[in-house]
Symmetry: C2
Subunit: 383 residues, 2 copies
């Protein structure tokens, strides 16, 4: 039920001493082939961490044999020394595996602006590369955690092949600096171009629509590696759907474990003039601190939803918007509708439905509430 569920992959997770707690903080996942096709999407933040700078270049040929991941330090804004550590990490794993450094993707997560201890990183990477096992996925999932409260694994099964994945991130895409990292594997026989297409079509409606706190990480990486070990050439539509299913599963696990969150909020925007409009509206509501505080307080404050919608450029009539909270249409035609006290906000799941009455397109954005625990966790992160 993890990245080593598909055939042709081994993984390991070890403690390299980067986390002061002594918890596992170094993972390696290896693709034993026969294929080494790979695709990845990286953060669109222009201030990228050193591992992202490395991995973006290394994956250009559409291949990767392995990924090495450390938690406990993001290796971001650490200058040439930080990049040198990333490079040496790839070299170390490559040497252990008998491949080239360019075949090794590198990811890091944790506090930024802090140089990781080079000796710890390299020793840990080598150790993980020597401890690889076909049952190592769960250990890898655990080793990449930072403020996550539990490891995140998922699989989807196609016709004769499997897609597996692990993720970390107590914040989200457009996310938390704690960083979202996702590693996906499949034993389907697919080319790098096919992988890339499936991956991009899977991340767009899943991770890209997760917006826990509006803060976009410097380290985000979603990597998909194919071993081809099943010998099965999948139907492209079924394969894309399997990849999407694993991404959706992991995205919902990230949403459920977001830092300090009391509620998982699903924002469904419907009848928009375009999907872009629906996304803009959903993201605007997802980034309203006032609305997120209201949800934390179990307060069905729909006015804050309309105020957020009003800041967008989407097509709609400001006097004719409908909003439902947990199925109760508390706002109709931009005025009071059903009584807000009919809305039960006590459950962890909160649904916001927004009817723009401007077209036929729709989109869903997921976010969390803004809580005391979020403020606490993020005011004390580096101190």
């Amino acid at each position: 039920m993890t990245v080593t569920t598909p055939q042709g992959f081994r993984a390991a997770g070890v403690a390299a001493g980067l986390k002061s707690t002594g918890a596992p903080d170094m993972a390696v996942i290896v693709n034993d082939g026969p294929l080494d096709a790979a695709a990845a999407v990286f953060t669109s933040n222009r201030c990228k961490a050193n591992p992202v700078l490395w991995s973006e270049q290394a994956i250009r040929g559409g291949t990767a044999r392995a990924v090495v991941v450390n938690s406990g330090g993001a290796n971001c804004y650490t200058g040439p020394d930080g990049f040198a550590i990333t490079h040496a990490t790839a070299e170390t794993v490559a040497t252990e595996l008998g491949v080239g450094a360019v075949d090794v993707q590198v990811c890091s997560t944790g506090l930024i602006g802090m140089l990781n201890d080079r000796d710890h990183v390299l020793a840990g990477a080598a150790e993980a590369a020597r401890k690889l096992g076909t049952d190592g996925g769960a250990a890898a999932a655990r080793a990449i955690m930072t403020t996550d409260s539990h490891p995140k694994n998922a699989v989807a099964t196609g016709t004769g092949y499997t897609v597996g994945g692990i993720a970390k991130g107590a914040g989200m895409l457009a996310p938390q600096l704690a960083t979202m990292l996702v590693f996906l594997t499949t034993d389907a026989e697919v080319t790098a171009a096919e992988l890339d297409r499936a991956l991009r079509s899977a991340t767009a409606p899943t991770f890209d629509r997760l917006d826990s706190d509006g803060c976009q990480s410097t380290n985000d990486t979603v990597l998909l590696m194919a071993s081809g070990a099943s010998g099965v050439r999948p139907d492209p539509v079924e394969f894309a759907e399997a990849v999407r299913a694993v991404c959706h599963d992991l995205a919902m696990q990230l949403l459920g474990d977001a830092e300090g969150a009391d509620h998982e909020i699903t924002i469904d925007v419907r009848n928009a003039a375009s999907e872009a409009d629906a996304l803009e509206v959903g993201r605007s509501v997802a980034r309203s601190n006032l609305f997120k505080c209201a949800v934390f307080g179990n307060d069905p404050n729909w006015g804050r939803v309309l105020a957020s919608i009003g800041t967008t450029a989407a097509a709609f009539d400001p006097a004719d918007l409908d909003v439902a909270l947990n199925g109760v249409w508390v706002c109709t035609s931009s005025g009071p509708g059903e009584p807000p006290d009919k809305v039960d906000m006590g459950e962890r799941q909160v649904t916001v439905e927004i009817d723009l009455k401007a077209g036929t397109e729709s989109a869903t954005i997921w976010t969390n509430d803004l809580t005391h625990a979020y403020v606490h966790e993020n005011s004390a992160y580096s101190s």
Copy 2:
């Protein structure tokens, strides 16, 4: 030291019964002339409150004789009934003053999506219009408060004339739904066009750059009325500067009284390729919940500043950014600079300096930290 300091203005503040506490909640400010020139800027939120819809139309001719303001209910998303109350409020005050309804600006602030009690509003408006006094500015400043902890007054003196102002808002422009309202008066002899120019050049570098929580109100209004009672035609440059000085003073009072804030954060962006770039970068940092939580925790977490800069389209080299916190250049060339423990974040004032090294333009944005008190206040506002 308030809106009745300039000659030609009377004001009042009374309790109309809209606030459950019985505190003053209705203000009227009247311009006795001889001039009735006026200019205003309103929220750019497309979901505008009923008083904004009224006042935007009423001020088109560049004149206003009075403004009537209620706190205790924003009269926003209250449909045709809400607009009817706004209209009737203007009529009531106009009748008391012997002017036309179109000469009366109307503003409301408080919870949105809730209809104010019509009888209370109209009786209160009439009472305030009957209690006007040349010393009534302070009472008006008090009556427009919502979650403000104290009233906000300011004046600036020109050569032979005065500019006065009051403001409310525990959140800010691009602000809090608690709404920012600002009323400015002057006895200078100026035309509506001159007023409009001075007002827009004054609000752009002051209120427009205040971004406490990224949430833009539906009710924001900044109104400037000129009586001409001093008989002095001001130098346009000096007059604009006087208006700007009052706006800046009030903006800093709003910043200092922001809901739940422990810190006032000044973000100075310098050496930008354009002022727009500087503003985009400053606003991005001001809207980073992670950075704002770090400031609350007295944590000089400069990596969160760079991560926010990286989400913008401004011109800069991601590998060559400098950031100072309270004067300590903790980040140089996008890497660690001076030790963060040199930064004292214990004071209420925090300064962030960002050197983009991409040009000669600069801009300042003001914001607050994200605190437990903010979450508390905004999770319990309507309940």
